[in-house]
């Protein structure tokens, strides 16, 4: 039965190439856009390497300072994080690191701008980078202020060509560092791990960075399990509230919170205050926008299927006159639609893969390596099936209500 349906579907689709092509284009295009969007969203929400344990990680991303006549919004400073986050009880690991800044080097008259980040030793334990050669620097390097650096593969190529870099010197911003390790490039969609060069915080020559409460740093806390999140958050908030601000004239209170990545992304999207978790609302908004985006092609598909059904009214009339039940007719049309969306779904995924590789190569997103992973692929396939069913139901319903006698005469509705 199913086999004859499939055969019939194939014959019907080939009979009207224009309709088939239009429907295919519509579904393939919609699916590819949705797949690309979900691949981008996925890479921001769950970036994978090096932030492989994102589910157990909380971060401090922003601080709000309020004073009598100003309100400052900025990244936290080293002193604040060192005092309030570093030794949180119950945390498995805590790392404090710089937000990163561009650093200029001149190599044989060529200008090279590298994204430069200062980190502590724990950074390399909490984030799991893939080392191509060498090893990370350690907490000792940080406390002694050793001029060592970890670079990424692109920086190695820029400075040393195809040669290994470990043990060689690299000049950045007028200072010389010894390269101790080379890691794989990390895309900017994982902002905590993105950089070209990493050096110990101890190499920064600021003597009094302990005093700084605002600006330039960030921190990540790895919990033993998600159940510890509430305790960690409460303890961090208590410590921030106790901070004594030296310059009381300008700022009086500081607000900061340990946030999950999703909550941080959602806060940026909706522009709400620090510490409010809007991630559920973001997921809902994303779902809603996707649904909206699907409406137009779905209506289009329903329209085209409708015309296809009506065109074949005499065929339906004959089948009904010979005793075919409405159910089996509906089944036949749904199978036709599913075959169509199945083909379009595969075409859409291929198109999405092409689009993603264009984005990867364009250099618009530094070190992007977006791809269609299995989860995105299955999401896309499920979406295609949903599409096929949805757009097939209304025409099939209309068809099943057709009066066989009128249908046989070729008259409609």
């Amino acid at each position: 039965m199913l086999r004859s349906y499939l055969l019939l579907a194939w014959k019907v689709l080939r009979r009207r190439p224009f309709f088939t092509a239009t429907s295919l284009f519509g579904i393939a295009f919609t699916l590819s856009v949705l797949t690309v969007a979900s691949a981008l969203y996925e890479s921001i929400a769950n970036p994978g390497e090096p932030l492989t344990r994102a589910g157990r990680v909380l971060g401090v991303y922003d601080v709000r300072g309020l004073g009598p006549h100003m309100c400052v919004f900025s990244s936290p400073g080293y002193g604040l994080l060192d005092r309030c986050a570093r030794s949180l009880p119950g945390a498995e690991k805590v790392t404090v690191f710089g937000k990163g800044e561009p650093m200029t080097s001149f190599l044989e008259g060529r200008k090279i701008v590298s994204q430069f980040r200062r980190t502590d030793g724990a950074y390399w334990e909490l984030l799991q980078f893939r080392f191509l050669e060498g090893a990370p620097f350690t907490a000792d390097d940080d406390s002694t202020g050793a001029f060592v650096a970890v670079v990424n593969a692109t920086t190695r190529r820029r400075f040393f060509g195809s040669e290994p870099a470990t043990g060689k010197s690299i000049v950045l911003g007028g200072r010389t560092y010894r390269v101790v390790g080379v890691v794989k490039d990390v895309p900017i969609t994982c902002p905590e791990g993105y950089a070209d060069v990493w050096t110990p915080i101890g190499t920064s020559l600021t003597p009094d960075r302990q005093k700084s409460y605002l600006g330039g740093y960030q921190c990540l806390v790895l919990a033993h399990s998600r159940a510890d999140f509430a305790n960690l958050r409460a303890e961090f908030a208590r410590r921030v509230a106790e901070v004594q601000i030296p310059d009381q004239q300008e700022l009086q209170t500081l607000t900061a919170a340990l946030e999950s990545r999703q909550a941080y992304v959602a806060r940026g999207t909706f522009n709400t205050e620090i510490g409010r978790d809007m991630s559920a609302r973001l997921s809902f908004a994303v779902f809603f926008v996707m649904l909206l985006f699907m409406t137009l092609p779905a209506i289009n598909l329903v329209n085209l299927t409708m015309s296809r059904v009506l065109e074949r009214s005499s065929e339906i009339g004959i089948r009904r006159a010979f005793g075919a039940s409405a159910r089996s007719l509906i089944g036949q049309f749904l199978v036709e639609n599913l075959v169509l969306t199945g083909i379009a779904g595969i075409a859409g995924l291929l198109l999405a893969a092409v689009l993603l590789s264009i984005v990867n190569r364009s250099g618009l997103v530094p070190y992007a390596h977006f791809g269609i992973d299995l989860r995105v692929f299955l999401d896309g396939l499920a979406l295609a099936l949903f599409f096929g069913l949805w757009s097939g139901v209304y025409p099939a319903w209309r068809m099943s209500r057709m009066d066989p006698i009128r249908a046989l005469q070729g008259r409609l509705s």
């Binding site: 239009t22 960075r209 700084s212 605002l214 618009l364 509705s413």
Partner: protein
């Protein structure tokens, strides 16, 4: 003719609701595209108020010390030393510190009117910034070395702020009080600039004013950006010399140079990429709708061969048939657009549309509607020609 078409459409109303929904949605899509394109085009054409050519922005990373930390006198003096050194270089025409450079990431704003939720962007700049950035004064004067002796804070405002605060009255020489929470500080307006659109060509222009960077004392905002106007024809290799000179004087600081023309290119790319992607998506959606419409019409023609045959044999010309088909499509389009208008009328309540201005928004609505009419007209052309080709004898034999 039109009444007849409407009646025809009405009689076939059960086949149309999906088509109408499609037209309504595509109208809304076109409206969004047209109004954002028009907004950005309008912004692009407004005067910038500064000249980015031959200007470099040097970001001095004063050791990542944060905002509002205790700023040491030593740091301040070193900054002045750097400025003197840069001014002494033969390639440099003018140089000045500013708080936020054009196209840069930092900005600061203050409230102008709390009830109306109006804010104004502020900046801090030195006496030489007028020549460095190529600012255009409309009235009054720029900051001068003697301004440190004034017992009131001098400010230079732009025309947008002038319009908001002083309406048509005199601005130069007037006092204006900046009110933030309980405190209020008095300022003296000494000049009016044409504009200063720091955010860039495609950002919304904001009312603006400059504080003076008093070299006598460290400002409470850290001035980390040194803007430099080079003499025309300076090679890009000068960057290396400049950085090494600066580094010799402040070994602990790091410096990054970006020409403003480069920053401008980056800004335009950053702003137009999402627009381009949105435009492409909208274009593909419309193409899809257009193809669907052609398909549905085609189907209709095939089904109505009989009717068309009768009309032809009763003396209707090919042109009559074509006009009828196109006319029917136009009636359906109008129905869809009427629904779209009803939805578009709700939009002026949204803040982005209010910022656009009702007049402008109306124009966008008209343009979008015209676009949809044109698209549907084109889609109807081919099927209607097919219909016109129906041979009456064949069509009547069909049954």
């Amino acid at each position: 003719m039109i009444r007849h078409l409407i009646r025809l459409t009405w009689n076939r109303r059960r086949t149309y609701p999906l088509l109408i929904a499609e037209i309504t949605i595509s109208f809304l899509v076109v409206l969004v595209v047209v109004s954002s394109a028009a907004t950005f085009l309008r912004r692009y054409r407004l005067p910038m108020g500064f000249d980015p050519r031959n200007v470099w922005a040097v970001t001095c990373d004063v050791n990542a010390s944060g905002f509002f930390d205790e700023r040491s006198q030593e740091e301040h003096e070193r900054q002045l030393l750097l400025l003197r050194e840069v001014r002494g270089l033969p390639e440099v025409a003018h140089a000045s510190y500013v708080f936020s450079a054009p196209y840069g990431p930092h900005s600061s704003t203050t409230t102008l009117d709390k009830e109306k939720d109006l804010s104004v962007e502020t900046n801090v700049a030195g006496d030489d910034a007028l020549a460095t950035l190529g600012l255009r004064l409309v009235e009054g004067r720029w900051f001068e070395p003697g301004d440190g002796q004034l017992n009131i804070e001098p400010i230079v405002i732009d025309q947008r702020m002038r319009r908001l605060v002083f309406r048509d009255g005199k601005a130069v020489g007037e006092e204006w009080a900046e009110t933030n929470d309980e405190r209020s500080r008095k300022h003296l307006v000494i000049g009016v600039l044409e504009a200063f659109r720091r955010g860039g060509e495609l950002k919304e222009p904001l009312p603006y004013f400059f504080y003076r960077d008093h070299p006598e004392k460290a400002s409470s905002l850290p001035l980390k950006t040194l803007v430099i106007r080079l003499r025309p024809g300076t090679p890009t290799a000068f960057e290396e010399t400049l950085i090494s000179r600066l580094r010799a004087l402040a070994p602990a600081w790091s410096f990054t140079v970006e020409p403003l023309t480069e920053a401008r290119r980056r800004h335009l790319q950053e702003m137009t990429t999402p627009l381009l992607i949105g435009g492409l998506l909208a274009g593909s959606l419309l193409l899809m709708v257009a193809l669907g419409l052609v398909g549905v019409l085609w189907q209709t023609i095939i089904r109505r061969t009989h009717e068309i045959g009768i009309r032809r044999s009763l003396g209707a010309t090919a042109g009559d048939i074509q006009r009828q088909i196109v006319g029917e499509v136009m009636v359906v389009t109008s129905l869809g657009l009427a629904l779209g208008f009803a939805l578009a009328l709700q939009a002026p309540l949204l803040p982005p549309v209010r910022a656009l201005g009702l007049h402008f928004y109306g124009l966008c609505v008209v343009l979008a509607a015209a676009g949809i009419y044109a698209l549907n007209f084109l889609c109807a052309m081919y099927p209607s020609r097919l219909a016109a080709k129906v041979v009456p004898a064949d069509a009547l034999r069909y049954e």
